[in-house]
Symmetry: C2
Subunit: 410 residues, 2 copies
């Protein structure tokens, strides 16, 4: 770890944040907390700053990563126009699917290299941003994306990254995570590294008006799950707690109206902020069993990530309760429950009930109806236990306990 | 603003965050929020990471900036040893005084240049860290430090900066501020630029045990003032609000016990976190009239910055109340006051009373006893109005109103 400064193509330098998790477990025990965020630009029409922001980072040619949905909504063209205004040449890559696969990352990287790009703009939801980050990994580190699964496997600096999120859900625009499906193993790989924190995150609530109500519901429950898991994570700190708590309050107040109406500007802004705050919390506090199990299921079955989380969350909360009773009582308070006079157990139960009601109100099912899931319970439980998110779950979990949670929802 | 990437000596590159405040006023109106933080390393013994962190940023020779108090407490030697362990050559500059002057910055810059340093570690309180930042400005931008007074005057990238704070007060370790006295004009210059946000902030509560009770009291009141002013600032956002509110709660609970005992570890940790959270809040939301007036007074009279703030704060709160009644009621809640059944005005008054009681309990005077201050009231009021912190005060202020606040405390 002598000198990690590396020269990147076209003379762009960037300092890598490596060895950040070097002593991950040890540091939790040592009570050393670390907190990293991108530069954040939030607000209506914030998207207008995309081109200039990219130039400010030293970019000479940028790869814009997106998908068909975002392109059809007009946001891709908007970003292309902004690059033109900033006299910044660009190439595009929009072949990204939901639960994106390793081969999409490889294709995107080829475009990056062919066009001699030196920076990346991602515009879209979690899938797009995760692919944009993964392209950045391969662009400077080479190899296969599966080489980087786990914590802190990225050794070389990444090109400058600007992430513009359009779904208020994944938190990928501020997080150190990228989730990519290994298409051979049919497994969601969790890649965690501080160097995946983008340089600049742009959150423009106005882009959310193009989301349909079902996507608003599932991505909104993803936000809620991020906030709950970050708040009870063993790596939570006061810096992440304050963000997680506000995200919970915003979800409880604004997720229903945001699902109800595409044009409720107040609700869209609030959910964009909730997504951002939950993202800041979980990127630094990491997640827990709901996400670990969700990644295991999502790698095998094409279900919306937020929906899987929403179905699992109440049962994971119930399982985790004894690890942090007071924290679950705090969650109840944030969700708008008057906890005065309640024991922590009563408050925790009320929080669990409140999450179930919210899910139900916005049309999320309570059980998995996916054919074939039941048969794979052993395999999925094993994969979940190996997921990086399980490390920070507040209660130790064995394979029988994962199965017990799954038995509630199958 | 084509390409702001600049080459720095020894081949170290860094991307500058310029034009961040380009449309500062306009952006507030446009509801565009921006949020920048350094990478934060917080916890007991976090100081141990200083050398490695500096190497990780690409440093080849570092200037360590400190002062005699910190050196006598042994912290300077500690950092020197850590650099040796990391095989990182260093030079030192410790001629920093309280309310540091422009000529100290110039001296420090000469040491930086003479020793061909390419990075800066600051270890100390607000004065030391502000000088370390100002040396960084001159090292790459040249000229006189007064050239950079105001908002966004820094045009070239700064060398990598690691700031280790030892006083739990100024928030300089995470902020975009540097306050330097112009010794000719006898004026505190407020320099604000996102590029002054350090690369890495290290906060080690263990370093606080060497502070005496008077310094703990005044720096603690500085923290409280940061939190109050950031929370009611016109540039406040949900991202800064959550940090400011937690800082208020921690100050209300832990400042008294921290003043009472040098060795109360829980209180030291809490106040270190309060300082950090208030710093994150005010660095992004900026401050208000208490700091503007405080800078004007501090430029003329050698009074502790935190003490001046503490004396002014209740009267500035009272003046500002009508700009944001609900916000002052929130402050009361954070300070531990049961606001149920109270009007916002009653709650605001209770908050003001609570601040006065806290000040009194920890031995802060209620009035300025400085000889000569009364005669300078016109001049000080005028200087205060021109301070950059006045821009974000929630209530417009004219010179007569500044004088009215001062008349309460003279």
């Amino acid at each position: 770890m002598k000198n990690n400064k590396q020269e990147f193509k076209n003379g762009i330098y960037k300092f890598i944040r490596i060895n950040f998790h070097k002593n991950f477990h040890k540091e939790i025990g040592m009570n050393i907390n670390k907190f990293v965020t991108p530069e954040i630009i939030f607000g209506s029409d914030a998207i207008r700053q995309a081109g200039d922001a990219c130039v400010r980072l030293g970019a000479r040619k940028v790869l814009i990563v997106s998908d068909n949905g975002v392109a059809n909504a007009g946001w891709l063209e908007k970003v292309m126009d902004l690059c033109k205004e900033s006299h910044l040449p660009f190439a595009t890559f929009i072949d990204v699917t939901i639960d994106p696969k390793d081969r999409e990352v490889e294709q995107g990287c080829r475009v990056f290299v062919q066009h001699e790009c030196d920076a990346i703009i991602g515009i879209g939801g979690g899938s797009v941003l995760d692919v944009a980050k993964a392209i950045a990994i391969l662009a400077t580190n080479g190899g296969a994306i599966s080489d980087y699964e786990g914590i802190d496997k990225i050794k070389k600096p990444l090109p400058p990254m600007i992430m513009i999120m359009t779904t208020a859900g994944s938190g990928s625009e501020v997080s150190q995570f990228s989730i990519i499906v290994d298409s051979t193993r049919k497994k969601k790989m969790t890649i965690i590294s501080k160097t995946l924190v983008p340089d600049i995150a742009i959150i423009d609530p106005f882009t959310l008006v193009t989301k349909d109500s079902s996507l608003t519901a599932t991505t909104g429950m993803d936000v809620l799950t991020h906030a709950v898991e970050a708040y009870v994570s063993v790596a939570a700190t006061p810096l992440t707690d304050v963000q997680a708590k506000n995200a919970l309050t915003l979800c409880a107040q604004y997720l229903r109206p945001s699902v109800a109406s595409k044009t409720n500007k107040e609700a869209k802004e609030a959910m964009a902020m909730a997504s951002l705050q939950a993202g800041l919390a979980f990127s630094n506090a990491i997640l827990g069993a709901a996400h670990a199990i969700s990644h295991a299921i999502g790698g095998k079955f094409p279900l919306p990530h937020g929906e899987i989380n929403a179905i699992l969350l109440p049962y994971v909360m119930d399982f985790n309760f004894i690890a942090a009773p007071k924290r679950f009582s705090d969650i109840a308070t944030c969700l708008g429950i008057d906890t005065r006079g309640l024991t922590d157990r009563e408050a925790g139960n009320a929080a669990i009930q409140s999450v179930k009601e919210l899910s139900s109100d916005i049309g999320i099912p309570t059980k998995f109806k996916q054919v074939g899931l039941t048969e794979m319970i052993d395999h999925i439980s094993q994969v979940a236990l190996e997921d990086a998110c399980m490390i920070t779950n507040p209660r130790d979990m064995d394979i029988e306990q994962v199965k017990q949670v799954l038995n509630h929802v199958l």
